[in-house]
């Protein structure tokens, strides 16, 4: 079988797995683009950011970071915390990404929640090249996201209704992800730590600078309370799925 045939066969096997992501990323990507447009950014912004960052939660937060005062250290620290879960996707994929050649750097770059959960769980049919399959899943997912973002960014200029309040889509998204995370824990200790630490720091440091102290307190509290918290966590599966 030639390289081209192997690649096409893998594409045919991969595409059906990505159809749910097509609708999900299509919807959220368009919303993201409209949201950026409503905040005064041209369509080039969502397009380029989706191409380079490729991480839904962070990209929504990044819109606010771009509107706040310039603070690259906060941007870096917040990004690390939001994206920390990817560490565990990488660990889970150590073996699976072996011997994928030139595709490996892109597979790692595009290791978002959705690509992880497909590539981690999909039963790749006999005779289909594993590297190509995972490559197509990752590339298709990112394509849906980038196109959705750009379409939303352009459509944002022509929306015939008042978009005031559309920024709530970000709040709604994080509330849903939080509910899904809570389902994985027997007791909501970690969410409570996050909530209380953030509220205290919001009052103490103000809306513009509470994130870094909040994150420090969260790490400290999780470290100090490990003995109590760990039994309530699901440490088994590397938790893919709902978060974006």
């Amino acid at each position: 079988m030639s390289k081209r045939q192997a690649s096409l066969r893998a594409l045919r096997a991969a595409f059906p797995h990505t159809i749910p992501i097509l609708t999900g990323f299509g919807f959220l990507g368009i919303t993201y683009g409209i949201f950026m447009s409503a905040q005064g950014f041209s369509a080039l912004y969502p397009f380029l950011i989706s191409l380079t960052v490729f991480g839904g939660s962070l990209q929504f937060i990044a819109v606010n970071l771009l509107l706040d005062a310039f603070n690259p250290i906060q941007a870096f620290a917040v990004s690390l915390m939001i994206q920390a879960r990817h560490l565990f996707y990488g660990i889970a994929m150590l073996d699976r990404y072996k011997n994928t050649g030139w595709k490996k750097p892109y597979l790692i770059f595009g290791l978002c929640d959705e690509s992880f959960s497909i590539n981690y769980t999909a039963k790749i049919p006999e005779g289909v090249d594993r590297g190509w399959f995972m490559f197509w899943v990752t590339l298709l997912n990112q394509t849906y996201w980038v196109i959705g973002s750009a379409v939303g960014g352009i459509a944002g200029n022509f929306i015939p209704f008042n978009t005031e309040g559309i920024d709530f889509v970000m709040t709604a998204m994080f509330v849903v992800i939080l509910i899904e995370q809570l389902k994985k824990e027997k007791r909501p200790y970690t969410a409570l730590i996050g909530l209380v630490a953030s509220l205290i720091c919001l009052v103490a440091f103000g809306a513009d600078s509470f994130l870094i102290p909040a994150m420090l307190i969260i790490i400290l509290a999780l470290t100090a309370g490990r003995r109590f918290i760990e039994p309530s966590l699901d440490m088994g599966e590397p938790f893919g799925g709902e978060s974006l």
């Binding site: 950011i49 937060i61 770059f109 709530f168 709604a172 995370q181 809570l182 909501p188 730590i193």
Partner: protein
């Protein structure tokens, strides 16, 4: 923010994202078990961070003035309710956002 500052901010997001995605391939091996504390943080951080991000989204809401955070509270209840009822992520996000937009545009 100037365009240069915007580019630096986005680059920080890119750098941190690539770092979290690539680090395991540089540091860990599939032969050796991952350090327990790293695994613990991986399981414990997400809910704490997403709780923080919900607070971040609401950071400019004032309980004492304006609409007193009522539209936000109603819309969040709607998101939670719809999500527990229908278990459909997109439906929950969509319905909460539409309710919020209607509230801030027509009621408050």
């Amino acid at each position: 923010m100037t365009v240069t500052q915007q580019i630096i901010t986005v680059l920080m997001c890119v750098l941190a994202t690539v770092l979290t995605r690539a680090l395991p391939f540089l540091v860990f091996s599939s032969k050796k078990p991952t350090p327990k504390f790293v695994r613990y943080l991986g399981a414990a951080l997400p809910a704490a961070i997403f709780a923080m991000l919900v607070v971040y989204c609401l950071k400019n809401v004032s309980i004492l003035s304006g609409s007193h955070g009522i539209p936000e509270a109603v819309a969040i209840c709607a998101v939670v309710g719809v999500h527990l009822w229908k278990k459909n992520t997109l439906l929950s996000i969509l319905s909460g956002t539409v309710i919020y937009m209607l509230l801030v545009q027509l009621v408050f």
